[in-house]
Symmetry: C2
Subunit: 275 residues, 2 copies
Amino acid sequence: MIDCGEGAQMQLRKSKLKFTRLNHIFISHLHGDHCFGLMGLISTFGMLGRTATLYIHCHAELEHLLVPQLDFFCKGMSYKVVFQTFDPSKAEIIYDDRSLTIETIPLRHRIPTCGFLFSEKQTPAHIRRDMIDFYEIPLYEINRIKNGADYTLPDGKIVPNSKLTIPSAPPRRYAYCSDTIYLPRIISQIHGVDLLFHEATFTQSEQARAKETFHTTAAQAGEIARAAEVKQLLIGHFSARYENESILLQEASNIFPNTLLARETLKISIESVKP
Amino acid sequence: MIDCGEGAQMQLRKSKLKFTRLNHIFISHLHGDHCFGLMGLISTFGMLGRTATLYIHCHAELEHLLVPQLDFFCKGMSYKVVFQTFDPSKAEIIYDDRSLTIETIPLRHRIPTCGFLFSEKQTPAHIRRDMIDFYEIPLYEINRIKNGADYTLPDGKIVPNSKLTIPSAPPRRYAYCSDTIYLPRIISQIHGVDLLFHEATFTQSEQARAKETFHTTAAQAGEIARAAEVKQLLIGHFSARYENESILLQEASNIFPNTLLARETLKISIESVKP
């Protein structure tokens, strides 16, 4: 989960996602609309008898603010909450497992803020069963071939890896950038991601207000998406002044056509595009 | 406002009540479902440019927990938040103005908890204009008559106050009792109130569970209402296990017929019953 505003536990319930699947929460910055839902979520998990550790990845200040509350409200809970703090001012890998890395994207807002870049790792190629049988390749060679090795036949002839495997799907990448002023320096870091969530608080007509409050306009979000050559842009974090948010969608789409409007409980599947 | 669980600001918005009319919040006890909405509400008021002081009436621990959060999240806010702490273990008047007193009702829950009794003050009687004219009573006598004095005519004859006034509506009283184990000792304090909100977490078939968790059954809430001779009972704080809460209503109504089921954004007008 990225960020956890007030009511996040209600939205999570509404979304029908399994609570037990949530093990890591990443907090972009310490404004209430991005973290006031943590205490409720943590308490509810405790009342449901959760046992798996919950990791909160956040700025050090949040740990200092939450620990006294946890000590008071969540005494004797059935599971542990572990804080993994990071410095939001520099890009660094803050999470790494066998299938995924997560890296911070330093942003510029009124207070220290960062986005997050989720990068899947490349999985090994798929073996072509028919070719393995054809060349009578022994089982103990399969892992090497999966990882890219060619195969040498008993007569010394080399079968290139490309004849023995089908490439696996390319790894997917997702970047989340909110809240931030228009910040072209992020373009290189998020270049080519499959999905970019970018805040679009205002329309371009409110450009001055956007700058003043360290937010981005929908047009600027479109510019970032276009320059970064992302596959899809999802805009969100709209100012409450826009009753009809289609004006924001229109504005971003004019610059970057493949744009979607975020809405509550929206689910997007990121398809891995076969090469 | 009594208690302020997560999402209270959203419910307040939904209820269309004016935010500026809310100046006092009373917290019954420090479980998350009764106070996790405070930070969000306080922050939102700040962003809306509120200027009037907001008073939080609560146990001393809540002030200790909230002040560091306010210092961090609500720096430079346009209004003040003032904590007025009380000891929930004894009945005491914690608020008093020209029209109202508010008194704590010590309850028994897993942690220190109290309810609140809101008592309107008696307003002066209404003057009978026709009788004032008939007896040619001078203007400067009016206030004394409003407050109960008889009037002595120039010939020494006394006109009793009851001929000159119509009694004002009797003051209304509202008691809020949640969360608590079945606690008959509150009956005398809440006797005859116009409206009693009482928790009814379980049905009577879960009486053992209710006792164990320091909650009340719907039947027990009905018993309290009947014994206290209240005018109307509103039950709430239902366990999530009851998909259809009418079973709780049925159970309480069997004992105390004038019972209502609480639901989100429900509004109840308490009519002052003319004597």
